[in-house]
């Protein structure tokens, strides 16, 4: 035993304890700030954090959570906060907090400095596939909705440049079809010309002609000749049957080929549709009008919230897995494996957070968030929140929801009600169709979104009342469209907007409707319909002209090849018919002779019987 070593250890331990009193607070503060900032995507700052092992308890003077979209503003800011943790779970690396009292909460407060963090500092949690797919589908839907530069676009739609970009696929397809048809026709023609019926039929003809009925003497001669003729006849019938079968097979093959030609029109229609989409020549109807005006804003917000849900689900799924996927961590970091035990306490659990404070609109908020927990299965309860508030001016807000990851299928429910808030100085649309800020007016939002697995069902209703738009910024209208917009903006006093989303994956139904749709549609259509029709006609005729060259060539090839084949068929048919006629004539001749001979013999017998 090294006694000096023990004394050294005791001294070191004492120094460490002393240092921990000085530096633990700073260390915990910076660790918490670093992790929370990474998850938030912008700075999260805690002022004067203090940790005490006695209790144990944690307190801070101020908490600021920066808005990642505007890093000069705090999304949420809270005042003094103090809470206790359970001591024993800390020894098992678990943090269990009974209650946190977050008072003096304020939203959208100004920051003293920029709260942005670098890309490297952000913690990116991978989103589940269904979230990525849904977001990208919604974004594509909005991107595909023609923007408002419609008239300009329609007028400037340069048909030649569109055709240059557009790969007219039908031309290549027609060309390939023509090659295919030519090949088939040539094969059949070759097969027909190679038929050896000609030789057979010539032999038959010679045989038939060689029968000289006059040379036949007795009835036996006649009968033998008749048998021979019938044999020849059956040979001709067999040749004819064989030829008819070939003809039938050829005709069925040709009819199939021809039916392939009928899809040419579909190809041309598809090219025309592509051209319209490149030119962004719009179909103005109430549905896509609402998407044009509000789509970008609504989809942006919805995607953001869906992203939060995705992150929560990713985390919950990670812990749910019995066999965590092997990762490729940085050197010396390793991968932490979670071991689920239903009867154990969770690694992290804030049982309750009591919230109180006020928003920037002077709405006094109060409510709770319950069971923020690392693994819901260990406590048998979902995460729930319920926050309510109202202002002296009559505005009221209610946020209620739950994140339930207890079962195999994750479920989230959100209900938001926000009414009586001022819309003054806000822009309710990102579209050029509604460029003005609101000068006066109040708003109401009612929304309910339920997610169950990949299935989404949601409805958001927004109502703006007593609206008055700020017209001071707008100058004289530069074109007819701007004139319409200005006249509509002047006349709007209420706005009703309903967004609904339902379904999953490819079966996702998304709709936005508003009371402005009809107004815009009527006035826009009045201007656009003429321009749109002209542009469409121009495009159609250019595409038709390009395609018709190939179509004509195709039709000419078909008719020329058909003619060749039909003439070959006719040649064989004529030859067969001619031989048939010849044999039948010969047969008739012999039969007549036999009849004649029979009656002659009969008369002879009668004469003998008379005596």
């Amino acid at each position: 035993m090294r006694w000096k070593g023990i004394i050294f250890l005791v001294v070191i331990f004492a120094i460490l304890v002393a240092l921990s009193f000085l530096f633990t607070d700073k260390w915990i503060e910076s660790k918490l700030e670093e992790t929370a900032s990474g998850l938030n995507g912008a700075k999260v700052e805690i002022d004067n954090l203090s940790f005490s092992i006695f209790g144990p308890e944690l307190r801070w003077d101020r908490l600021q959570i920066t808005d990642p979209k505007n890093t000069m503003i705090n999304m949420v800011e809270s005042g003094f906060c103090e809470f206790k943790m359970e001591f024993l779970p800390l020894l098992s690396n678990k943090v269990i907090i009974e209650n946190i009292q977050l008072s003096d909460l304020r939203t959208n407060t100004d920051r003293e400095n920029d709260g942005a963090i670098s890309k490297e500092e952000r913690i990116v949690i991978s989103q589940p596939n269904y979230v990525k797919e849904t977001v990208s589908k919604l974004r594509k839907r909005i991107e595909d909705t023609p923007a408002l530069q419609l008239v300009g676009q329609v007028k400037s739609a340069n048909v030649d440049s569109i055709l240059a970009i557009l790969n007219i696929t039908s031309v290549k397809k027609i060309d390939s079809l023509q090659k295919n048809l030519t090949g088939k026709y040539d094969t059949w023609y070759k097969e027909l010309t190679n038929l050896d019926y000609g030789k057979d039929l010539k032999t038959i003809e010679q045989k038939v002609k060689s029968f000289d009925v006059k040379k036949l003497k007795s009835i036996e001669d006649y009968r033998s000749a008749l048998n021979n003729v019938e044999q020849i006849n059956s040979t001709i019938s067999s040749v004819s049957k064989d030829f008819q079968n070939k003809k039938k097979s050829l005709q069925s093959d040709l009819s199939n080929l021809k039916s392939g030609v009928s899809v040419v029109d579909d190809w041309v229609a598809a090219d025309y549709k592509s051209a319209l989409s490149i030119a962004k020549i719009p179909e103005i109807n109430t549905q896509n009008m609402a998407e044009m005006i509000f789509g970008e804003r609504v989809v942006g917000q919805f995607s953001q919230y869906l992203g939060y849900v995705g992150e929560a689900r990713s985390y919950a799924n990670k812990l749910k897995s019995d066999e965590p996927e092997k990762q490729d961590p940085p050197r010396l970091k390793g991968q932490d494996i979670y071991f689920y035990n239903q009867h154990a306490r969770p690694d992290f659990w804030i049982k309750n957070i009591d919230l109180s404070g006020q928003t920037e609109n002077q709405i006094h908020l109060s409510g709770f968030v319950q069971n923020i927990v690392s693994d819901q299965r260990q406590i048998g309860a979902p995460t729930e929140f319920d926050i309510k508030g109202s202002s002296d001016e009559g505005a009221s807000v209610e946020l209620k929801g739950s994140l339930n990851y207890l079962e195999e299928i994750p479920q989230e429910k959100f209900n938001v009600y926000y009414a009586g808030f001022s819309l003054a100085n806000t822009k309710i649309s990102d579209s050029d169709l509604l460029p003005n800020k609101v000068k006066k007016g109040t708003g109401k939002v009612e929304s309910s979104v339920n997610l169950s697995g990949d299935n989404i069902e949601g409805k958001v209703k927004f109502t703006g009342q007593n609206l008055e738009f700020d017209l001071s910024q707008q100058g004289k209208p530069k074109n007819k469209i701007e004139e319409i917009i200005q006249s509509i903006v002047k006349s709007i006093s209420t706005l009703d907007l309903v967004m609904s989303i339902q379904g999953k994956g490819d079966d996702l139904k998304f709709r936005i409707n508003s009371n402005l749709d009809d107004l815009f549609v009527k006035k826009m259509n009045a201007i656009l319909s003429g321009e749109v029709a002209a542009a469409k006609k121009k495009l159609k005729s250019k595409i038709d002209a390009e395609v018709n060259k190939y179509k004509g060539k195709l039709n000419n090839t078909i008719s020329a090849k058909e003619k060749m084949i039909q003439s070959e068929i006719k040649k064989y048919e004529d030859m067969i018919n001619k031989q048939k006629e010849l044999v039948n004539k010969k047969k008739k001749e012999i039969e007549d002779k036999i009849k004649k001979e029979q009656s002659k013999q009969l008369n002879k017998v009668k004469d003998l019987l008379k005596f």
């Binding site: 250890l9 020894l91 098992s92 050197r331 390793g334 932490d336 035990n341 154990a344």
Partner: protein
């Protein structure tokens, strides 16, 4: 220069009066410190053992330095080995789950693949390394050291002015 000094120090330890046991234990415990992530609960125990037991500190530090570099190189293997023990080996799952919830032990980061892989690997190696080093030290002192001292090359170096100058500077520093 640093490497030469390091080798010189090692040779000095080998030639010293320190027992082969102390050197071997120092080397084996230093190996655990070096191979496993330093800031772990088990390493606190290893450090305490190094300090309070009569093991050779210099050897432990030397071993720690060498095996820290080795650990960096073989980290992916430790990760895979740890993952195998913690995840793939179903029979141990119940034990790990129990351990995960045991106070203090849960703080040991045993559920980290690199901690687990490197710790088990170094614990397995500890005894063989102890005996190998011990045999090495005994052999060096009995056979190799005498031979090295008699090498012409060594004698030549020791005979140079630079070496005597180095010895003077070294002695001044002591």
């Amino acid at each position: 220069m640093f490497v030469l000094e390091f080798i010189a120090k090692l040779i000095k330890i080998l030639r010293s009066e320190i027992s082969p046991n102390q050197i071997s234990w120092g080397f084996a415990l230093g190996m655990i410190l070096g191979l496993t992530p330093f800031l772990s609960l088990h390493n606190l125990i290893v450090v305490i053992l190094i300090i309070i037991l009569k093991v050779n500190l210099a050897t432990a530090i030397f071993s720690f330095g060498i095996f820290s570099a080795v650990a960096y190189l073989v980290d992916p293997l430790f990760h895979s080995f740890g993952y195998y023990l913690l995840v793939d080996l179903d029979s141990l799952n119940g034990f790990w789950t129990w351990l995960y919830n045991v106070p203090i032990l849960a703080l040991s980061k045993f559920n980290n693949t690199v901690v687990m892989g490197s710790l088990i690997f170094s614990v397995i190696l500890m005894i063989p390394v102890y005996f190998l080093v011990k045999i090495g030290v005994v052999n060096y002192r009995e056979k190799i050291d005498v031979k090295i001292k008699n090498w012409k090359f060594i004698k030549l170096i020791k005979g140079t002015k630079i070496y005597s100058l180095y010895e003077k500077i070294r002695d001044l520093g002591v």
